[in-house]
Symmetry: C2
C-alpha cells in the first residue's frame, strides 16, 4: 500500500497492530481522525496513555483497578464467602455483566499452558490458597474456559484447594441458551447428559 | 456495561467513537493494550497525536501531505498534463494503489450536498480553475462516486471547466470486474450498454 505521508503510514502501522484490525481498516480510522476535530484524537491518545500507565492490579483479587483495592473487593454488600476463579479481568467483566453473581473474584492471570511456557508458578494460585486460609471463604467457583488449558488449570486449582477443605464447584458446561440440540457437538452434548440437573418445574 | 475502572471506561468510550467500533470491540482492544508492553500503547498514542497535529494539506492538490507540497505534486516523473478530480484523500490512495494512473490529482474536499449544507463554495473548485488557467493541464478526469451527490458535483465541475476549453472525461461506470451480469442492478446495466466501448480483440 502506498501512503502520501510518513506520519499517516506510521499511524496506520501502529493501529494495525491491534487485534482484528488490518491495514485497510487502520487507514479508514486514520482518515476518519484526520477529518474530525483535533480534540477527538488528543482525547483518544490521552485516554489510552493514562489507562496504560495508571491502571493497577487489585492487591486482593488481581483484577484491573484504579486503586490499590478494586471496587468489587471494597464493596461491603458483596458475599465474601464465595470466590469465583477466572483467567483474566475480561472474564470478571463478562460475569459482572450477567448480574447473576454477588461474590468476590480471583484472577489467575492466565491458564496453565506448557506450549506457551506458562506453569502454575506464573499464575496467582498461591495467593488464592493464602486468601482461603483466612477462613472467610466457604466456596470457590471455577469459571475457566472449557479448553484443554482451562480444564488442566481447574484440575490443578482443585487439587491445591483440597487440603483447605473449602467447597469447590465449577460453572456448568452444556448447550448454550438458544442453542439447537442437533447442532451441538457430541462432546458438549455427552457432558450435558452426564452432568444433568434436576428439572425444577413450578 | 459495568467497568472495574474509570480509566478503562474512559478509554473504551474514546475508542468506541471510531467508526465501526462498538463498546465490546473497544473493550477487547483496551484489554489487549493492557496485556501488552507499555511502549506499544505510547507508540500508538504518539503516532496518532503526531499525525493529527502535523499532517498538512498540499498547497497544489489539497491532498494530505507531510510537507507544503505533496510527494505526487513534487514528483517530476508524473504526467503534468492530466489531473484527476476526487472527493477526498482516501480516493487518491485508492487510485494510487491501482498503479494505473500517472497524472496529478485535485482533491475537492467533499461533494456538493444541499442536505449537509455543502455547496460549491466549500469545495476547492475555484482552485482547480486557477490551476488549469496556468495552461499546463490538457485533460481533467472526474473520478467522483456514482451517487446523486457525486454526479451533481461532476456536472458542476464540468460546467465551470467549459470556458477553459480543457478536455473533461469521467471514469467509466459499468459492471465491476468479476461481477455477474444477472446480479447487476438495472441502472448500472443500462448505463453500461449506453456507454459501451469498442471491443479490442488482439
Amino acid at each position: 500500500m502506498n501512503f502520501p505521508s510518513k506520519l499517516i503510514e506510521d499511524a496506520v502501522n501502529e493501529i494495525s497492530r491491534l487485534p482484528g484490525i488490518g491495514k485497510k481498516t487502520a487507514l479508514r480510522l486514520a482518515l476518519h481522525l484526520l477529518k474530525q476535530h483535533e480534540a477527538i484524537t488528543s482525547a483518544l491518545a490521552l485516554s489510552l496513555t493514562r489507562m496504560r500507565e495508571e491502571v493497577k492490579y487489585c492487591s486482593q483479587c488481581h483484577s484491573l483497578s484504579d486503586e490499590d483495592t478494586c471496587s468489587i473487593c471494597q464493596n461491603q454488600k458483596r458475599d465474601r464467602s464465595v470466590v469465583c476463579v477466572v483467567e483474566d479481568s475480561g472474564d470478571v467483566l463478562a460475569i459482572e455483566n450477567t448480574n447473576q453473581y454477588q461474590g468476590l473474584y480471583h484472577v489467575l492471570g492466565g491458564v496453565i499452558s506448557p506450549i506457551q511456557g506458562i506453569g502454575p508458578e506464573q499464575l496467582h494460585c498461591e495467593r488464592l490458597v493464602e486468601r482461603i486460609s483466612k477462613g472467610e471463604i466457604k466456596e470457590v467457583i471455577l469459571a475457566l474456559s472449557a479448553t484443554m488449558e482451562g480444564d488442566t488449570t481447574s484440575f490443578y486449582v482443585g487439587k491445591i484447594l483440597k487440603p483447605t477443605g473449602v467447597k469447590v464447584s465449577s460453572i456448568a458446561r452444556g448447550i448454550p441458551v438458544g442453542g439447537e440440540l442437533e447442532f451441538t457437538d457430541e462432546v458438549t452434548l455427552g457432558r450435558s447428559i452426564l452432568t444433568r440437573i434436576n428439572y425444577a418445574q413450578e
